[in-house]
């Protein structure tokens, strides 16, 4: 669609869209969704709404400008909405300023329950209990209270157990734009090739019975504790 003649004009349009987005995202107290931006821009300009791609391009443009000017702000997309956030390098100042309302740290049992749930959702309590080998009643209740998980529906299985899943709030609290942004579960082979499990590697070849539930694609290696 874009010809060379259009370029200066389309450049202007990008700039104007970027200004609109920067203002909206700055002023909003909550994440602003792409379709909200589109409808606002279209109403003001009396023209067609910008595409999601154009919006993302404008956001990249803003972020690039911020980076160039070394400004400590970026626009990020979490749980499908755009938010203006500070950068990591100035976190020290903000942590002192916001000292009184510290974010809650999640305990290991909450993290474990959440980890199982975000990869296996929707999942029932017995499924989670089985993986963890312990009762997850308390952990599930805490996570429900914190709004990180929710009851999605009832399973058709015997007893109609509740099916749990993560919420948009979870995505936002973990800085993810969607569940597809979660790091892939590491493959068993890869886990075992860690120094602590190096010996087991050879035996793996001899044992084929291990089934895996998640699709492969190893994630970036991370230190095993």
């Amino acid at each position: 669609m874009i010809t060379e003649d259009d370029l200066p004009e389309s450049d202007d349009r990008l700039r104007e869209l970027a200004r609109a987005i920067e203002a909206l995202v700055f002023a909003a107290d909550e994440p602003v969704e792409a379709r909200q931006i589109a409808s606002v821009v279209s109403e003001v300009s009396q023209g067609p709404p910008p595409t999601e791609e154009a919006i993302r391009e404008a956001v990249d443009f803003i972020n690039a400008a911020c980076e160039q000017q070394e400004r400590p702000l970026r626009i990020r997309q979490w749980a499908g909405g755009f938010r203006m956030t500070t950068t990591e390098d100035v976190a020290a100042y903000l942590k002192v300023y916001f000292r009184s309302d510290r974010r809650q740290k999640l305990t290991r049992s909450l993290m474990e329950t959440l980890a199982i749930l975000c990869y296996k959702q929707p999942a029932t309590k017995p499924e989670i209990d089985y993986v963890r080998g312990v009762d997850s009643d308390y952990a599930l209740r805490r996570l429900l209270d914190m709004g990180l998980i929710a009851v999605l529906e009832r399973s058709d299985a015997v007893g109609r157990p509740l099916l749990y899943g993560t919420t948009p709030r979870f995505l936002e609290e973990f800085g993810l734009s969607g569940l597809d942004q979660l790091p892939n579960l590491r493959e068993i082979e890869e886990l075992l090739s860690d120094p602590s499990f190096s010996q087991a590697r050879a035996s793996l070849l001899m044992m084929q019975g291990i089934q895996q539930q998640e699709p492969p694609e190893p994630r970036d290696s991370q230190e095993e504790s």
């Binding site: 700055f26 909550e30 749980a79 993290m111 019975g209």
Partner: protein, 246 residues
């Protein structure tokens, strides 16, 4: 042998993984007898830990002993295709699955910390969408149910509708009555169910409904005005009419 505290472990699988990593055990060739003894040794120290926690650890102990016993069978077990079954296989699979999620939890922790160093205006994310009526079930307290009953009772006539001998209403009979009503309609408003009925009838029916709810046969949900409640048919047992079991 170092001294470890069981509270440091998330559960029996976590404890087993600890042994395996500490002793550099081949996870596919776990010395079951040795690890079972070690495991039991630690579980014995659990006196002070809460009972719920102990139960999970003891369950795993039983599982380990079961595997150990199967290992001792003179003739190995085989599956339909004649392949030898390793009694440890289920346990190994569980340990491996647990390992993956344990690591995933550590990954999430990193994400959470990283996100914690980014600040935004405003705190909470967009509020969750209001749940629909069915979900208000969760919010129905016994107190609210009883107040709804109170209102219905206030309207219930005490005067006998017919000049006959007073009838005793039994909860069991009322269960059948409710079940019958629900077999015709999936969801009924309690007030309509006992409309114009004498007080004793309403009370017996209310008790029947509570009993059925406790047994998971019906769902109760307050009406939006919270002055009455729905009784909703839950599962098939209702249609069998076989409700007098109790």
């Amino acid at each position: 042998m170092y001294n470890i505290r069981l509270q440091d472990f998330e559960g029996p699988l976590d404890l087993l993984l600890f042994f395996i990593q500490r002793d550099e055990i081949d996870i596919f060739d776990i010395p079951i007898a040795k690890i079972t003894d070690e495991y039991l040794e630690y579980v014995r120290q659990m006196d002070e830990v809460d009972l719920d926690g102990v139960a999970d650890f003891i369950y795993m102990a039983a599982l380990l002993i079961h595997v150990k016993v199967r290992m001792l069978l003179p003739k190995p077990e085989v599956d339909e295709e004649g392949e030898i079954i390793d009694p440890r296989q289920d346990l190994v699979e569980r340990l491996l699955a647990y390992m993956r999620y344990k690591e995933a939890a550590e990954g999430l922790d990193v994400l959470h910390k990283k996100r914690g160093s980014l600040f935004t205006r405003g705190k909470a994310s967009a509020p969750e969408i209001e749940r629909d009526v069915v979900d208000t079930i969760v919010n129905t307290t016994v107190f609210q149910l009883v107040s709804a009953l109170g209102r219905i009772l206030a309207e219930a006539s005490d005067a006998p509708t017919l000049a006959v001998e007073e009838v005793e209403y039994k909860v069991a009979d009322q269960r059948a009555f409710v079940a019958e009503a629900l077999s015709r309609k999936e969801k009924v408003v309690f007030g309509e169910l006992v409309h114009d009925a004498p007080k004793r009838f309403v009370i017996a029916t209310f008790l029947a409904v509570l009993e059925m709810a406790q047994q998971g046969l019906v769902w109760l949900a307050l009406t939006p005005e919270a002055d009455d409640f729905y009784v909703r048919h839950l599962s098939d047992p209702l249609q069998n009419g076989d409700l007098r079991l109790n």
